[in-house]
Symmetry: C2
Subunit: 347 residues, 2 copies
């Protein structure tokens, strides 16, 4: 504030973000045009902090980044094996997919195997992010349905578990046995009681946790191996399914798919709405979680790519890495206008 006599409002940074740090910058010409703050934490398989930026105790919603946690009861209950689910279906249960044909066909088949259909889902309709699928619907004059919802694989998993448990049809309600099983697994792997819960975009409960709790859960997944125990086997199978079928976890052009392909079995990663990103590094024995304060995906993608490079599982020269770490901004006529950069001091 320069002018005298004017009403002034001071710098209140720190009151609500409790220490977020600059993570990602957008540069245009010679100016940093926009700036993203956030928190990130890397832990080992025992949950000990290896490195952190900002405040690991920041309380967040994992949103879709915790789908592999939500899928644990599906395996641990025996429901997945009773239904004969394939690793590809397990990957889809952990997905935020594009609604491309490969996803909607797989969910349709899965529901059919249970004698169920689109009307049994409770995720709500969503226009596919996949452009060919979107355009095909528009040309056919059809509306998107619940199968196109990016969470429909998770919900097919919920329905499979629900059939096994014999619960009622409203499986997204907080008190429903499916969600209570999810809650129990969530608290066990984060090592914390939840701080509350909110309604996710797909209408299922989403549980809040510290960022450290979410990283701790990813660390446990990273340390788990098949045959160690019920929990560890489930974790290892889900991690392996995500790494084996990266196209089922998101879709073409998406960060999760592109980066998992580039890392070729060295990490399973998952995005969540409002700029959450997690990574499971089984070979390194590390779990990672980050949250960009303002919820912007371009920043969470750049930040997770930077951490994957730093921890030696992503080659920064790979085109999929470059596209997230340091993408060019171009005008609609193709002129170079700027770039996204990871902030000095982060990763």
């Amino acid at each position: 504030m320069q002018a005298s006599g004017a009403e002034s409002h001071g710098n209140m940074i720190g009151a609500q973000d409790r220490g977020a740090v600059p993570m990602v910058e957008l540069w245009r010409g010679n100016l940093c045009e926009s700036l993203h703050y956030g928190h990130a934490v890397v832990v080992d398989t025992t949950g000990q902090i290896v490195e952190a930026w900002g405040n690991p105790q920041a309380v967040i919603y994992p949103r879709s980044s915790c789908k592999m946690v939500q899928a644990l009861p599906l395996l641990e209950s025996g429901a997945a094996d009773a239904a004969g689910l394939s690793p590809k279906q397990l990957a889809l249960a952990c997905a935020s997919h594009n609604g491309a044909a490969i996803h909607s066909e797989a969910v349709t088949s899965w529901l059919g195997e249970m004698g169920m259909g689109e009307a049994d889902l409770r995720c709500g309709p969503q226009e596919p992010a996949d452009i060919p699928a979107r355009d095909a619907l528009i040309r056919a004059g059809e509306s998107p349905c619940q199968i196109h919802n990016n969470c429909s694989g998770k919900h097919a998993g919920f329905l499979t578990l629900n059939r096994h448990l014999g619960g009622g049809s409203e499986y997204t309600e907080f008190d429903h046995p499916v969600q209570q099983a999810s809650l129990q697994a969530f608290e066990e792997v984060t090592g914390e009681a939840i701080r509350g819960w909110g309604v996710d975009g797909c209408s299922a409960p989403n549980f809040s946790t510290s960022l450290l709790g979410l990283a701790r859960a990813m660390g446990r997944f990273a340390g788990a191996r098949e045959g160690q125990g019920l929990r560890e086997s489930a974790q290892a199978r889900l991690t392996q399914a995500m790494m084996t079928y990266p196209e089922m976890v998101a879709g073409e052009t998406r960060a999760c798919t592109d980066l998992m392909r580039a890392m070729n079995g060295q990490a399973a990663i998952k995005t969540g709405a409002e700029a959450v990103f997690v990574a499971i590094l089984p070979g390194k024995g590390l779990g990672i979680a980050l949250k960009v304060l303002d919820g912007t995906t371009r920043a969470s993608e750049a930040a997770i790519a930077a951490l994957l490079v730093k921890y030696g599982v992503l080659d920064p020269a790979h085109p999929a890495a470059k596209e997230r770490l340091n993408p060019e901004l171009r005008s609609r006529r193709g002129l170079l206008a700027g770039e996204i950069r990871v902030a000095d001091g982060f990763a």
Copy 2:
């Protein structure tokens, strides 16, 4: 940082944002899930600060928020009157439009009046944000063209000015007479030399300024009346055109259009990419400019709505105001999930 022995990175807030303050929050359940920082400043018609949040000296790109400044040479040169441009066309010259039929038809006619066509534009193609227009293109199997670009009205204005000045065809180049005229007007109304320039999404130069400079420009527009002088007449005509034809400035469902309709001639407002927003309040003699640090539009819309309410030109009970100030977040099945709120201490 809690753990001992771990590598820690301290809080660097303040190093780059120089004092941005919390402006807008996203709440889900009982938790503030995401948070947006920014800068805002309100000035009178002489450019004196009336009120400010964060740092009015923050250097920004106005992006499309300064289209009424870029249109000044079109009027002041006599080109607009020589071409017989209507107030509706002047509003379109200041627009970031949806590419709806009313916009593309108006730009097509305008180019036709000059004996020109789509190929004379230099803004590049863009898929219409207007859903009916987008779907019509997809059903017809057609690609979006430059007329659909949200800036095509501004570029039709550039072409009109260029014809008057007799410049070459590459009117978006920095050294071109059209852009040099724009630069001169920009420096005069902001009261500052530019700090540099970048390539905008439409390939035209975008000049950087302090946020205070941008607000000062809006204050001058707010104080201008027809008949006072060449500059003031041009400013008053552009402000009036925007307020009279809000549907030409953006389009259905868009904040600029909805809020200008709600304010019914009390303010002209304009958004810019990366979360800039400006307002011209002729009746109050005030100019406003704000920038959300992270570039998120939901936050700049909530913030400008809050300032318009505070300065008495927007009724907070109007549905268009409520939709920006405090919109509900709902799941894809329609369940209430949370809301956007203006942060305590802002506006």
